[in-house]
Every structure is written in structure tokens, then in C-alpha cells.
Amino acid sequence: MEETAQAALLAVSGAGLVSAGLRGYHGSMATAVKRLDLAVGEFVEIAGRRYEVVPDREGGVTIEPPITPVAQLHARRGTKPASTEDFERLSADVPHDDEG
């Protein structure tokens, strides 16, 4: 995942970005459309906030605030996932349900 791909967006329209709540100018101003060639996994910055390009459920893309992967957090903190053995030792009596 490339985290350095960023773009400052001033006015944006388009299916994916509209779904994130971004719309063009209204009122007396003409709608300004800036077409973006973005791929899943890229990041954009809008008004100082960072967003990640992610797939939507309809075959397109949308943007949302990023979710920092645990691998990055572990690297920063010097932690790591516990072993399967430790997990099973602690969770042997813990039930499942069907949700996930």
C-alpha cells in the first residue's frame, strides 16, 4: 500500500467521492469537477484531513478516514500478535457465536 500518494482536493465530484459526502459548489457558482485517477489503497488529503481510497460495495471506490493496520502499530510499539498457543490457552472456554 502506497501511503505517499496524496492529493490536495479543492472541489470534487464523482460517484465515489460524492458518497463520502463531498459535493461541488452550489448557488451561483458553477460546479467544478476535478477528475481523479485513484486506486484502492491510495490516500488523499482534503482540507487537511487524510482519507483512504477503499472499495465500495458496488464495484466502485469511495474514500473514508484511514484505519491504521496493526502491523504498523506493532512496529511502532514493539509489540506483536500473540501466538496461537497463547490465544487458545486463554480462550479455550470462550464461546463463539455466528456473527464474526
Binding site: V70, L73, L90, H96, E99
Partner: protein, 134 residues
């Protein structure tokens, strides 16, 4: 606040990382029920005065979610049905630099979002674990 496993196993702490808290809980409006419920549940967990009703997450779950090594708590704590506990925390068991173990919160969110565009808590947990949605 330790989660004491059965037998003579040492207690395992429960941790809420600042990055995860910001990304998972503070994405909600400060006045939203979701955020209020998360804050209340965290306070109860950290007070360590209530037995927690843990459930294991599924290594191969619905919708392609894969959450091995993870457990969850439904929120509000102590309730089970999705109507009474619409939110949840997912935790990953981690090993810290001093070799101690901890349950680290990796996701908070809705179990069954009414808006189909909203990612549920299992999808969010999967993305944090694997870097992408299932």
C-alpha cells in the same frame, strides 16, 4: 485492568491504544449514542469491577472476515442481542516487549449497520488486521 483467565494463568491486561481509539470511537460525533456507549463501556472495563462476557471471533467469518486471535465484547456490556447491544469492541491478543500479554482493542462499531454502505465491526477489524477489506 486485568482480565484474569481461569486457573493459575497470569492476568492479561486490556488496552485501548490512542490511535485505535481515535480512529474507531472518535470518528463518531461526540454526542452520538455510539461514542457515549463506547466511552461508558471502556470506563467499566478499566474499572475492572464487572465480569466481561467475552466471545471469540471467527477465524473464517461471514462476509470473508478472518479474525484469528481475536475476541469481542458487545456494547453496552452485559447485553447480547443486536437490538440491545448494537455495538461491539474487537480485541487482538498481543505480546508486549516485556513478553507480557494484553488484549488490544482493534475495532469498534456497529454489529449490524442499518446503512448497507457502512462497514460493520468485523469488516473494520479485518481491515485493521489485514490492511484491506475482505
Amino acid at each position: 485492568m486485568p482480565d484474569t483467565p481461569a486457573g493459575s494463568l497470569p492476568p492479561v491486561s486490556i488496552e485501548f491504544g490512542s490511535v485505535e481509539w481515535r480512529e474507531e470511537v472518535e470518528r463518531y460525533d461526540p454526542r452520538s449514542p455510539a461514542r457515549a456507549q463506547a466511552q461508558s463501556a471502556r470506563k467499566t472495563i478499566e474499572a475492572d469491577t464487572t465480569k466481561l462476557d467475552w466471545k471469540r471471533c471467527k477465524a473464517d467469518g461471514p462476509g470473508g472476515t478472518k479474525l484469528p486471535g481475536a475476541r469481542k465484547l458487545y456494547v453496552p456490556l452485559g447485553r447480547q442481542s443486536a437490538s440491545q447491544a448494537p455495538y461491539g469492541f474487537v480485541f487482538q491478543l498481543i505480546q508486549k516487549p516485556d513478553d507480557s500479554l494484553a488484549w488490544s482493542m482493534i475495532a469498534f462499531g456497529e454489529r449490524h449497520p442499518a446503512d448497507e454502505r457502512t462497514r460493520n465491526i468485523y469488516e473494520r477489524a479485518h481491515k485493521r488486521l489485514h490492511g484491506r477489506y475482505p
